[in-house]
């Protein structure tokens, strides 16, 4: 059955496909170690200066003449990272709690307009980010709310709740309702059943939803761009601003670190999932 030419073609295609996806990432990682400060596309020699420079520990910066300004921009970047992490932690927690509770309620209780409610929960995911961003901005301005880290958190929660909801709902749909009945039958109140049976059964879904929410929150540019004030900026918005002033080698170092963090989070997610399934 095996056609050698077909197999070679398929292999080549697969390799090309993965190269297409991963080449940009590897290029960035390569550039982040290139010591050439003027043109990153011309290899000079290996250096870790851009990494140490991020922490303000290196003398070599792109803008040697203005070292004070450079250290300040590093400080700003670290502040942006801190903002991003804070936002992601809060939004992940809030949207996971609300999304999970909603998924349970919608699956277990019958009430009027249930279908409509369901549809409305999907909407923020379908909506283009730019529309959501503008909508949120107009909303905050019209109720007189100053743009700050709080508005970023609220903005993220509006659409991340939907993501968590959908993932937990899928898990909920696959759950045998008899499990909860068995628990009640054996004397457990609804609260005990929730704690001992329902939540542990949903755990992989909840965890998956939370990780996704965290990653999307860390990554979001468009919506955050609209709802962040001048004071609090997240890392993606900060990098976007940096690039507009020309691509500096430090960007590659930042990007490489973010790739590393993403891989670690994804691996963590996979590991937790494989541990859950017997």
């Amino acid at each position: 059955m095996r056609n050698p030419i077909g197999w070679a073609g398929l292999t080549a295609f697969s390799l090309a496909f993965f190269a297409f996806i991963y080449a940009p990432l590897f290029v960035i990682i390569g550039y982040s170690f290139n010591s050439n400060p003027v043109n990153m596309m011309i290899w000079e020699s290996f250096t870790l200066d851009w990494y140490t420079g991020l922490l303000g520990l290196s003398d070599r910066t792109t803008d040697v003449s203005n070292r004070a300004a450079y250290v300040e921009s590093t400080g700003l970047m670290l502040a942006a990272l801190r903002t991003s992490l804070t936002v992601a932690l809060f939004t992940t927690t809030i949207s996971t709690v609300i999304g999970t509770a909603t998924a349970i309620a919608l699956a277990r209780y019958r009430f009027r307009l249930r279908g409509v409610y369901n549809g409305f929960l999907m909407l923020p995911m379908m909506m283009p980010d730019i529309v959501l961003g503008i909508g949120l901005l107009i909303f905050f301005v019209s109720i007189g709310m100053n743009l700050s880290i709080l508005t970023i958190i609220i903005g993220h929660c509006t659409f991340l709740t939907s993501y968590v909801f959908i993932i937990v709902q899928a898990r909920m749909a696959g759950l045998d309702p008899a499990l909860e009945e068995a628990s009640a039958d054996l004397g457990a109140s609804e609260w005990v059943t929730l704690r001992k049976v329902l939540l542990p059964q949903l755990a992989p879904g909840i965890l998956g939803g939370a990780l996704l929410a965290f990653v999307i929150s860390m990554d979001d540019l468009v919506i955050t761009y609209f709802v962040s004030g001048t004071g609090d900026t997240t890392l993606p918005v900060f990098i976007f601003g940096m690039i507009r002033r020309g691509v500096k080698p430090e960007i590659n170092a930042i990007a490489t670190l973010i790739i590393l963090a993403s891989v670690v989070i994804a691996a963590l997610g996979l590991w937790l999932r494989s541990r859950k399934t017997d």
Binding site: D176, A178, E181, D185, L186, D278
Partner: protein, 355 residues
């Protein structure tokens, strides 16, 4: 002695998607004694599960009363009812070990860990799963899961155990073994079982009493023997075991015997008690009630099937009418096409008043 469970005029209807109302329970009256094995038997959709769920509290009644030990059950939520259930899907908690599954009722009730572990070990021993406590339900066979579900539901010593087709997922051999084990477990525990099945053989082997249901109503309650030998109507007769039904008209009554014949002219002898000439009744004879001999209903074998030592025959009466099913203990030589005579003892005939 007052019964353990007392159900009076239980009614429950559902609104069907088609817009009508369907009476899943239509005036059910049932008493269950303290140490009784009662089986609910009936065709699919007759309301067996609904009745069980009403007792466990997962389904409410539209009207009617339910008392357990004299106390009203209907007002209690499921988790307060002293009744436990073995679910058809077993509903084991996949994220817990077998031991924790089994000890769940005690854990929830706040029983101390040491006591709990001792009782779990004891119950696991009882259902033949000693030493398997550390496993996850996912690492067990179907039969073992069934035992875990059973162990989990008896650990809190309920007065009444409800089992909804607990054996239906098992293969035939395992099933027969579990039937015997369930029955002896019920004896040893001294608690009442209400067991749902739509396998009539299972019902006949296991039950102290059988409740035959149809469309939300109880058709007959009785011991397996009563139900089998003295079905109250055609439905019960046809539902329980293989049956031959003969709508007959009484010709004449001679002492203890009545002579009757079907419209086609097949002649039968019935118990003569209470019979009047000209009366139309239905005569019921089980396949094993016939003997093959030189006298009796003349017929021809249309099909012969060997069932181990027995021979299962389909006999077409020469007079006409439906085929008669016969089990012959020693049926050698009666192959297809053979001429036979089917004799029967009039005392074995059960008579239904309606034709």
């Amino acid at each position: 002695m007052a019964p353990l469970l007392e159900i009076r005029e239980a009614r429950r209807s559902f609104v069907t998607p088609e817009g009508g109302r369907l009476a899943a329970l239509d005036g059910v009256n049932l008493d269950v004694g303290a140490n009784e094995f009662v089986t609910l038997l009936g065709p699919s959709g007759c309301g067996k599960t609904t009745l069980l769920r009403a007792i466990s509290g997962f389904e409410s009644l539209d009207s009617g009363t339910m008392r357990l030990d004299g106390a009203d059950l209907t007002a209690l939520p499921p988790f307060r009812r002293p009744v436990n259930t073995v679910f058809q899907s077993y509903a084991l908690f996949g994220h817990m070990s077998v031991a924790r599954n089994v000890g769940y009722a005690l854990e929830v009730a706040g029983v101390a860990r040491a006591t709990r572990e001792a009782q779990v070990a004891e119950v696991l021993e009882k259902v033949g799963l000693a030493g398997m406590g550390a496993r996850r339900p996912g690492q067990l066979s179907g039969g073992q899961r069934q035992r875990v579900a059973l162990a989990r539901s008896i650990i809190a010593k309920p007065r009444l155990l409800l089992l909804d087709e607990p054996l239906s997922a098992l293969d035939r051999n395992l099933r027969q073994q579990m039937q015997l084990e369930l029955k002896s477990l019920q004896h040893a525990l001294g608690i009442a079982f209400i067991f749902v099945t739509h396998d009539q053989e299972e019902a006949l082997t296991m039950s102290d009493r059988i409740v035959v249901m149809r469309s939300g109503q109880i058709e007959q309650i009785g011991t397996p023997r009563e139900i089998y030998r003295h079905p109250r109507n055609r439905f019960v007769a046809e539902f329980i075991g293989e049956t031959n039904l003969f709508p007959v008209t009484i010709d004449r009554v001679e002492g203890a015997e009545a002579l009757a014949r079907t419209a086609e002219g097949v002649e039968m002898r019935l118990p003569g008690k209470d019979r009047r000439p000209g009366e139309q009744v239905t005569a019921i004879l089980r396949p094993a009630d016939f003997t093959l001999g030189g006298a009796g209903i003349p017929g021809r074998v249309t099909r012969a099937v060997y069932l181990g030592s027995d021979l299962y025959l389909f006999v077409q009466p020469l007079a006409g009418g439906p085929e008669i099913r016969v089990i012959a203990r020693d049926g050698a030589g009666f192959d297809e096409g053979a001429a036979v005579h089917l004799a029967h003892d009039p005392a074995r005939v059960h008579v239904l008043e309606a034709a």
